[in-house]
């Protein structure tokens, strides 16, 4: 029950109500009983039809009765009836629906039946439906049944009409709705679907595309200048800017002989959904065997502490075989496989687009110092076990069909422009949480897109300062900002380590040769120095 105030009537009132309802219950239950009797006996006659009318007028959520009503029409009424009669009959059905819709504007079943009527009626009037849905959205501009129904009607009109003008028409409709109320999220959403289509349909040249996108930025700008606390326009703004797709690659893979561990270094943080597979070849047999063990990563966890664990997003992933599997240590070759569907990045624009397979040969080494053996991509082996579902990576990018055609240099220019726009607004609204987090997002994206060799500390400083402020301003979501803050600090120091290392292998060699210390401590020392803003 939604939005019905709780009342505790007196015993007397309760008694009266129950007496009154007793009669109604009896009538209603009699109707239901005769309806089901007819249904069981396949009696598709007008008597049955009238009963369904009576029941549904009182209780439009009784889906079985709707189903029966359709069966009566199909198997009774429409047998031997002319097209005109069918048209009339379904016409009055539509009127009936309009009546009960007034009592219950959020019933799925009423919309389902309406769609069925229109798909069954010989000559559907989709323009009338469009006018109807206009009214519906005038009454409640966020009714998602209304918006769903509108998209449905438009798709029907599109089938027999001029597609281009309809997309423009619908786009203009969202403009009207947004101008009536900037916080109509449903309209912004609809716009995000229409804008890419509109650009495609109109076959615009680069300059025209630029203009149309700039007009969007003007519209959002006037929205968040009107009400900087309204999230709709800010979320749309995030989408307008978009994000550049980045491919995850592996920077290094090593086998640490002393610890018998595999260490992977990626150029972005990833989480593991399904364990990467490790295999070996032994001296005795030529078969390839699976090695079991644990994968752990190094990363920041809730609350910003750096930790090692199996459910953490990290740049480093370390595999320790289970003890039984390393006991027969006579393997001569070692491999691992990472598939795109086994990893998860924190956003869909950072992706692994191909399978990573690497391996190395392990010789009985006389040189103890060679604790680290690089695993190279030369070896490709057959997949041993196939448990996960293989999903093409373009699925992840389904969204890309729905993003705007903005190339990298344009996006950089856009980011620079928007960063200064938001900074201006921030002068007026220094404590606007949406303004602040948008600026942090833009700066992060700017940093990410540039991905320059020298990571500029002052950019990180500014982002950290914004998150510090947000933690105070938006207490409800402080933990999210704490996470984002730790993440950017950690990411920054790791990136600096990776980028400044001339030779990652020798750098790793050095870390690992300090055998007295354990992994976590070494990594902590390296990456988790308390963060100070630039000196």
């Amino acid at each position: 029950m939604h939005g019905v105030k709780r009342v505790k009537p007196s015993a007397e009132v309760e008694k009266l109500r129950k007496e009154r309802e007793a009669i109604k219950i009896k009538e209603y239950n009699n109707l239901v009983a005769s309806c089901f009797a007819k249904k069981t006996n396949f009696e598709y006659d007008e008597g049955a039809f009238d009963i369904t009318t009576k029941i549904l007028s009182q209780n439009p959520d009784f889906y079985t009765v709707w189903n029966f009503r359709r069966l009566i029409l199909l198997n009774g009424t429409f047998k031997d009836c002319s097209l005109e009669e069918k048209q009339d009959r379904l016409g009055s059905e539509l009127l009936f629906l309009q009546e009960i819709f007034k009592l219950n504007p959020k019933s799925y079943w009423i919309f389902n039946h309406r769609r069925w009527c229109l798909e069954t009626i010989p000559d559907p009037d989709w323009h009338n439906e469009l006018a109807l849905v206009d009214k519906m959205l005038d009454m409640d501009s966020r009714n998602f049944h209304g918006w769903d129904y509108r998209r449905y009607v438009i798709s029907k009109l599109t089938m027999h009409g001029d597609l281009k003008s309809l997309i423009q028409n619908e786009f203009d409709f969202t403009t009207t709705k947004i101008n009536q109320n900037f916080s109509n999220y449903s309209a912004w959403h609809q716009r995000s679907k229409l804008l890419p289509k509109l650009i495609k349909e109109k076959n615009l040249n680069d300059q025209e595309i630029k203009e149309i996108i700039n007009r969007e930025f003007e519209l959002v700008k006037s929205a968040f200048y009107t009400d900087p606390d309204d999230q709709s326009s800010w979320l749309y703004h995030r989408w307008l800017i978009g994000r550049e797709i980045r491919h995850i690659s592996i920077l290094g893979a090593y086998f640490n002989r002393k610890r018998c561990q595999i260490i992977l270094v990626f150029d972005d943080e990833i989480g593991m959904l399904s364990p990467f597979q490790v295999f070996c070849k032994s001296e005795k047999s030529s078969t390839i065997n699976n090695i079991n063990g644990d994968w752990q990563s190094l990363g920041v966890v809730e609350g910003g502490s750096v930790n090692i664990g199996d459910k953490i997003h990290g740049f480093f992933w370390i595999f320790t075989p289970s003890s039984q599997d390393i006991e027969n240590e006579d393997f001569t070759e070692l491999f691992f496989t990472v598939k795109p569907e086994w990893i998860v990045s924190s956003n869909s624009e950072t992706i692994l687009d191909k399978i990573i397979q690497r391996g190395c040969t392990i010789k009985k080494s006389e040189n103890e110092k060679d604790i680290l053996i690089s695993m190279t991509s030369k070896t490709v082996i057959e997949d041993v076990s196939e448990q996960t579902i293989n999903i093409s990576s373009d699925l992840i990018h389904h969204e890309s069909q729905e993003t705007l055609p903005i190339d990298k240099s344009e996006r950089i220019a856009l980011l620079q422009r928007e960063i200064s726009t938001i900074r201006e607004l921030l002068e007026l609204e220094p404590d606007s949480k949406w303004c602040l987090q948008t600026l942090a997002n833009l700066l992060r994206e700017f940093k990410r897109i540039n991905n320059s060799k020298e990571v500029k500390n002052f950019e990180v400083d500014e982002i950290v300062t914004i998150y510090d402020k947000l933690i105070v301003i938006d207490k409800m979501r402080a933990k999210r900002f704490e996470d984002l803050r730790s993440k950017i600090i950690f990411e920054n120091s790791i990136r600096r380590f990776i980028q400044s290392a001339d030779d990652l292998t020798s750098e790793m060699q050095q870390i690992l040769s300090e055998s007295s210390d354990n992994f976590l401590n070494i990594f902590k020392k390296l990456f988790c120095k308390p963060y100070h803003l630039a000196e």
Binding site: D61, V344, R477
Partner: protein, 324 residues
């Protein structure tokens, strides 16, 4: 409002009594108007009781017998005896039978057949029944149901995922059909379904979790879409999705617990959509499940993907493969 009207602790005994009393309200018209929700009501009530550590309040034999009587020749279940079969009710039936450890009392092969027949081989979408309404809710029902029956092999999982992904939006959320606006209920369905089929990598976790945690309003409650009112049922859908995505801490738990507790009826038990409203069994389950997910004491843990007590999911040997 006085503090008595806004409870600040969990009224376990009252809720048990409230759920017990539901089948004694035959002199209310509402009881008869909601007959099509009888089977789902049993699922909501039974799950709530189990989380409240009172699963035996409902007689197991009666419950199983009733569920069995809702199965049809085509394998599907209806909302009540004699009503028409539907995919959502089929999931409710399987959930109840899993809680009662009574799957052997029905023909599960028939259920698998029914669920399988609901998939459109072209698009991968699922229809609710033969009248062909399409909705990502039904994708969840099918995937959850077959996963509980360990028969995901019966459907085209890849196609099912492809359809769900067509419903993804600019905010990282999901709608009921391609093109439809993001909605917390649909997000729960899509994230849950993707979790079951090991495909959480397709989700934009940071973006979606951001949208989800912005659902929390000043009063601590959560809404289901921007600029809408808070509601207990949305708190469950938002929370479960955040929990699956490993970001439950992105909302303020204390404030939400306060809000959920305040939505209890301090006299007759049960939870309403928000404080001061009429209670119902649907919101009662989602209030309790939400509290369980938030770590409220004295409740059994709930599984965010299946919306079943965790021990039940473990008992049938389903691995916890989410929390990224």
């Amino acid at each position: 409002m006085t503090s008595i009207e806004k409870p600040n602790n969990l009224l376990v005994d009252l809720h048990v009594k409230y759920i017990q009393s539901l089948d004694t309200k035959k002199d209310d018209l509402e009881y008869w108007f909601t007959e099509h929700l009888r089977l789902s009501g049993v699922y909501w009530g039974l799950t709530a009781l189990d989380l409240l550590k009172n699963v035996n309040t409902l007689n197991r034999e009666d419950v199983v017998k009733y569920v069995v009587s809702c199965q049809h020749d085509n394998g599907g279940f209806s909302g009540h005896i004699g009503h028409d079969p539907h995919l959502t009710h089929t999931l409710y039936a399987v959930q109840i039978l899993v809680i009662e450890d009574a799957l052997d009392s029905v023909n599960t092969e028939k259920i698998v057949e029914y669920v399988k027949s609901r998939q459109d081989p072209q698009t991968g979408a699922f229809t609710g029944d033969e009248w062909e309404e399409i909705d990502t809710r039904f994708s969840y029902c099918a995937i959850s149901c077959l996963s509980l029956l360990k028969r995901l092999d019966a459907i085209d999982v890849k196609k099912a995922i492809e359809f769900i992904m067509l419903c993804k939006n600019f905010d990282g959320g999901f709608g009921n059909t391609p093109g439809a606006e993001s909605h917390a209920g649909q997000i729960f369905c899509c994230v849950g379904a993707l979790a079951i089929v090991n495909s959480l990598h397709l989700i934009d976790a940071d973006l979606l979790s951001w949208w989800l945690c912005e659902r929390q309003l000043k009063n601590g409650g959560l809404n289901g879409r921007p600029e809408k009112l808070e509601d207990i049922c949305y708190s469950w859908w938002v929370l479960s999705a955040l929990s699956i995505l490993g970001r439950l801490h992105w909302i303020n738990k204390e404030k939400l617990i306060e809000f959920i507790l305040a939505a209890q009826d301090p006299e007759s038990g049960g939870f309403a959509d928000r404080p001061g409203d009429m209670v119902d069994i649907f919101h009662t389950l989602f209030g309790i499940a939400g509290l369980s997910l938030l770590g409220y004491p004295d409740l059994k843990s709930v599984d965010p993907v299946y919306c079943l007590p965790k021990y039940v999911v473990q008992r049938i040997g389903l691995a916890e493969k989410y929390h990224i």
